[in-house]
């Protein structure tokens, strides 16, 4: 049945070369843990991607209950965690995944660094990777405010003061992020929500796309 559907489409649109180009390529022996167990270090990039997929999916589902409003944000998180079936699990995935993704990203970066895989011709992809790292940190910082509890509120006050210390553009950046020069409040929450859920994921997708296209073009770096 599936084969028939595939053939029907393939006959008309010729999709085989499309997915072959993306998915059909050899895994060199030196990156295959079945050959050399130590090659597991090559898994961290893929694991980062896996956890990122979890973050995006669980985040999308959280927005079914979450409201970015200072009266109701905390209550909506409390409700989804305590009253909604499996709410604790979905929130837990997003909550713990946010830390795990940073750890994976860090291990991946360590592997690339210590193997010297960032050297010519892969310098550009190192820069893309560093940008992804900053986007991730920003996702963590903006997401942290969303439950609107005391910890979130005061952590954000500190985050905003750090932004305010930027040379020259500090005050501008702080007001732009918080929505008010002094108050951490209603406008801060809606802004952080928009940044967390739309702006940063959009930037993340673009950078991940560039990251993977570069990997396909340049191939994985050779054995040490």
């Amino acid at each position: 049945m599936m084969q028939k559907i595939y053939d029907w489409i393939d006959e008309r649109v010729d999709i085989t070369p499309l997915w072959r180009d993306i998915a059909d390529h050899e895994v060199p022996e030196h990156v295959n843990p079945a050959h050399h167990f130590s090659a597991f270090v090559y898994c961290f990039g893929g694991l980062t991607f896996f956890v990122t997929v979890i973050q995006i999916l669980s985040g999308m589902f959280l927005t079914m209950y979450y409201v970015p409003d200072i009266e109701n944000a905390w209550k909506s998180v409390y409700y989804l965690q305590t009253e909604v079936a499996h709410g604790q699990i979905v929130r837990g995935m997003h909550h713990w995944g946010a830390s795990v993704v940073i750890v994976m990203l860090f291990l991946h970066t360590l592997r690339v660094f210590f193997q010297g895989a960032y050297k010519k011709p892969r310098e550009l992809n190192w820069m893309v990777g560093v940008s992804i790292f900053f986007i991730m940190l920003a996702l963590g910082l903006t997401g942290y405010l969303l439950p609107w509890d005391n910890k979130a509120y005061f952590a954000t006050q500190v985050t905003l003061n750090i932004a305010g210390d930027l040379p020259y553009i500090g005050d501008f950046a702080k007001t732009l992020l918080a929505g008010d020069p002094e108050i951490v409040g209603a406008q801060t929450l809606t802004r952080f929500f928009a940044i967390h859920v739309f702006f940063l994921p959009a930037a993340l997708f673009a950078l991940m796309g560039a990251h993977f296209i570069l990997i396909r073009k340049q191939g994985i770096s050779g054995p040490l």
């Binding site: 200072i70 006050q157 500190v158 003061n161 750090i162 501008f172 007001t175 732009l176 918080a178 929505g179 008010d180 020069p181 108050i183 409040g185 209603a186 406008q187």
Partner: protein
């Protein structure tokens, strides 16, 4: 001269026109959105007024903490919020009203908050310290003195306004 002037080919002309039109369309789309996003930076706000805080008689030479409420307008959300100040009378009778917000990263300082440093303001977050005048002590994290509240005295009552930051020491 004019014969040697470079001719613009049909292809170049169309490229320029399309880029120009595309540029205008992109700018027309983005301009309202960008202005929308940076509005909080450009809004001018009226400075808040003064609030009655405490009877001047209650003040001593020792900093005491006083709290009061102000009406805060946060876009569509209006609420009462609490402000605090450490207030005392100097030897010469002038009143000092210090903001308790640490100039390092915004924690709340307290007078004699640490037994090891009597007669100083202490910030529990990273051990920032200030003298009684609120001046940050060198080699502790804060980069500037505690802000001073605008103040006025009317019929024996102390009114405080906005906390004005002071320059780094």
């Amino acid at each position: 001269m004019s014969e040697k002037k470079k001719q613009v080919s049909r292809r170049q002309f169309l490229n320029y026109t399309l880029t120009g039109v595309g540029g205008f369309m992109a700018a027309g789309m983005l301009a309202p959105m960008v202005r929308f996003a940076i509005d909080p930076v450009l809004q001018t706000r009226e400075r808040g007024g003064f609030s009655a805080v405490v009877d001047v008689d209650e003040l001593t030479n020792e900093p005491q903490r006083f709290d009061w409420q102000i009406d805060q307008v946060d876009a569509w959300y209006e609420s009462k919020v609490t402000r605090s100040a450490w207030v005392y009378k100097k030897e010469d009778g002038t009143i000092m009203a210090l903001s308790p917000i640490c100039t390092h990263l915004g924690c709340v300082v307290s007078w004699q908050g640490n037994d090891d440093y009597p007669d100083q303001f202490y910030c529990p977050c990273h051990g920032g310290r200030y003298t009684k005048e609120g001046v940050n002590i060198p080699n502790t994290p804060p980069p500037a003195p505690l802000a001073l509240y605008e103040q006025k005295e009317e019929e024996g009552t102390l009114f405080l306004g906005k906390a004005i930051p002071r320059e780094g020491a």
